[in-house]
C-alpha cells in the first residue's frame, strides 16, 4: 500500500480516482472532460494493484466530483473508488454505483439517430438483461449491449 502511494505524488486537496482498470484511465480523462480545467492533474498508468493486477489512478487537485459523475464512472470502471482529500488527509471514500441513466458522455451507435445532431445531448438508460447489461438510447429507442456503446 505504501509503495503505491509513493508512485503518484500525493495531493493536498481534491479527488483521487483509484482502482481504475488499466487502459481506462486515459479514456476517463477525455470522456469526463477532466482535462478542461486549470487544476493540476496527476495520472498514473499501469500501477501494480492487488485487486486488479494493474490499475490506473487519477488525481485532480481542488476538484470534487459530482454524484452524477461518480456514478457514471461505474460504467467504465465498476471497482473504482473516489477518495476526497483535504490537507493530505482522506476525508471521504465513495464507491460508484451504476446509474439508471447516463447523459451526454456516450455516443449512440445508430448512425441515423437524431442524437447526433449538434445541439442535443445523448441519453441512455441501463437495462439489465439475464446475463448482461444493455444501454437503450432514449431517442431512437434502440438497445445495444454495453460493450458496443462503450467501445
Amino acid at each position: 500500500m505504501q509503495i503505491n502511494k509513493l508512485q503518484v505524488e500525493a495531493i493536498k486537496c481534491g479527488s483521487v480516482i483509484d482502482h481504475i482498470p488499466s487502459q481506462i484511465g486515459f479514456k476517463l480523462l477525455s470522456l469526463f472532460r477532466f482535462t478542461e480545467t486549470e487544476n493540476r492533474i496527476t495520472i498514473g498508468l499501469n500501477l501494480p494493484s492487488q485487486k486488479l493486477g494493474k490499475k490506473d489512478i487519477i488525481k485532480i487537485e481542488n476538484t470534487f466530483l459530482s454524484a452524477d459523475q461518480i456514478n457514471q464512472l461505474a460504467i467504465y470502471s465498476p471497482c473504482a473508488t473516489v477518495n476526497y482529500i483535504d490537507q493530505y488527509n482522506l476525508v471521504g471514500k465513495i464507491f460508484p454505483k451504476l446509474p439508471k441513466k447516463i447523459d451526454r458522455i456516450l455516443v449512440c451507435p445508430n448512425s441515423n439517430c437524431v442524437s447526433h445532431n449538434n445541439s442535443i445531448n445523448s441519453s441512455f438508460i441501463f437495462i439489465k438483461k439475464l446475463n448482461s447489461m444493455n444501454l437503450k438510447c432514449q431517442y431512437c429507442e434502440k438497445e445495444f449491449s454495453k460493450n458496443i456503446v462503450l467501445s
Binding site: N112, V114, N117, Y139, K142
Partner: protein, 310 residues
C-alpha cells in the same frame, strides 16, 4: 374512465400502458359506429412531413377533417424553405408549436419525434414515423383491427412474415401484443431478416411463446392473424432473395387449411408478397385494416386533445 392520454405525446407504443391502449380501441370503435364531426372544431393541427409518406399523411388528414379540425403543414420536407434555409428541427417545432394545438411529425431520423417533444412547449406531438423506429398509430390501427376481427387481444396465435429485421410495424405490434396474456407468435423470415434480439429477449423475459418457422403452410392451421410484410430485394443477397422469395409469398393455395377466423393483415403498400387472388378470399383484411387507420387516428387525436370523453 379517466382519460390519461389527455395532453400526452404519442411518440412510441412503448409509452402507452395497457389501459391507455384499451381507451384508444374503445374510442376507435365508438367513432367508427358514430362519427363525431364536431369533436375537434376550433382546433388547428400541424402536419409536418419532413419526408414524404402519402398514405400516412392522407390518413391523418382525413382523420383531422372528420373531426372538424383544421390543418396547416407541409408534405415533403425537402421542398420547403425551412430545410433550404437550414433551420433546425428544434427551431421549426418551437415556432410551429406557437401556432397550433397539436403537431404530427414524420421525419427520416430515429428519435426525431422524441426530440420534437422537448421543443414543443407542451403542445402534444404525434409521431407519424421516425426513421426505422416507431409509428405508434400504425400499431393502434393494427390492434384495433385485430380486436375487431377476433373480439380479443389475448390468447391469439399470430404469424408475422417477411422482413422482421427492419419492419418497424412488426416490432411495435409484437411489443404491444406482448402486453396481453397468452399470445403466441410465429416468425417467418429469411435468415438475414430475422426478428432483432431485443424483441426476442423481451418475449423470452416475459415467457411469451415464439417460434421460428420455415414457411406459412407449416402453421396456417394454427393461426388467427397472419401479418404479412414486404421483403425488399435490396436487403438480401440475390441468391438468398431468389431462394426465399417463394416461401414468403402468399397464394390462395397456402390458405387451404386456414381457420375460419383467420385474418390476413399487411401495413401496405403491397408489392408482390400477397397474390391478388387472395384479395377475394374472406381472409383478406388489409384494405379494411387501412380504412381502420382513420378511426384509430381520430381516436388518438381526440383523446389527446379533449379531456372528457365518456
Amino acid at each position: 374512465m379517466r382519460n390519461s392520454l389527455y395532453k400526452k405525446n404519442i411518440i412510441s407504443i412503448n409509452d402507452l400502458k395497457r389501459d391507455e391502449l384499451e381507451l384508444v380501441l374503445k374510442k376507435s370503435a365508438i367513432l367508427k359506429k358514430k362519427p363525431e364531426p364536431g369533436l375537434l372544431k376550433n382546433k388547428i393541427i400541424a402536419s409536418c412531413f419532413f419526408e414524404a409518406s402519402t398514405r400516412t399523411r392522407l390518413s391523418f388528414e382525413t382523420a383531422i377533417y372528420r373531426l372538424g379540425a383544421s390543418i396547416i403543414g407541409f408534405s415533403d420536407g425537402n421542398n420547403i424553405s425551412l430545410s433550404q434555409k437550414g433551420e433546425s428541427l428544434e427551431d421549426t417545432i418551437s415556432v410551429i408549436s406557437s401556432y397550433v394545438d397539436a403537431i404530427i411529425i414524420r421525419h427520416p431520423q430515429e428519435g426525431s419525434a422524441r426530440l420534437a417533444a422537448e421543443f414543443s412547449n407542451s403542445i402534444p406531438i404525434f409521431n407519424a414515423g421516425d426513421g426505422s423506429n416507431q409509428h405508434p398509430t400504425q400499431t393502434l390501427l393494427d390492434l384495433f383491427t385485430i380486436k375487431e376481427t377476433q373480439n380479443r387481444l389475448n390468447e391469439l396465435n399470430i404469424a408475422m412474415v417477411g422482413d422482421l429485421k427492419y419492419g418497424r410495424t412488426v416490432h411495435s405490434l409484437t411489443q404491444a401484443l406482448a402486453k396481453y396474456k397468452k399470445n403466441k407468435f410465429f416468425f417467418i423470415s429469411p435468415d438475414a431478416l430475422t426478428m432483432p434480439s431485443y424483441i426476442n429477449d423481451m418475449l423470452l423475459e416475459n415467457q411469451i411463446s415464439c417460434t421460428r418457422c420455415q414457411n406459412i403452410e407449416e402453421i396456417i392451421s394454427e393461426i388467427d392473424i397472419l401479418y404479412m410484410t414486404r421483403v425488399q430485394k435490396e436487403r438480401l443477397e440475390s441468391t438468398e432473395y431468389a431462394n426465399s422469395k417463394s416461401k414468403f409469398i402468399l397464394h390462395t393455395k397456402t390458405l387451404k387449411n386456414a381457420r375460419n377466423n383467420l385474418k390476413i393483415l399487411h401495413p401496405l403498400p403491397r408489392i408482390d408478397e400477397i397474390d391478388y387472388d387472395v384479395d377475394k378470399t374472406p381472409y383478406a383484411w388489409y384494405f379494411k385494416q387501412a380504412a381502420n387507420g382513420i378511426y384509430a387516428r381520430q381516436a388518438i387525436l381526440s383523446l389527446v386533445l379533449i379531456e372528457n370523453h365518456f
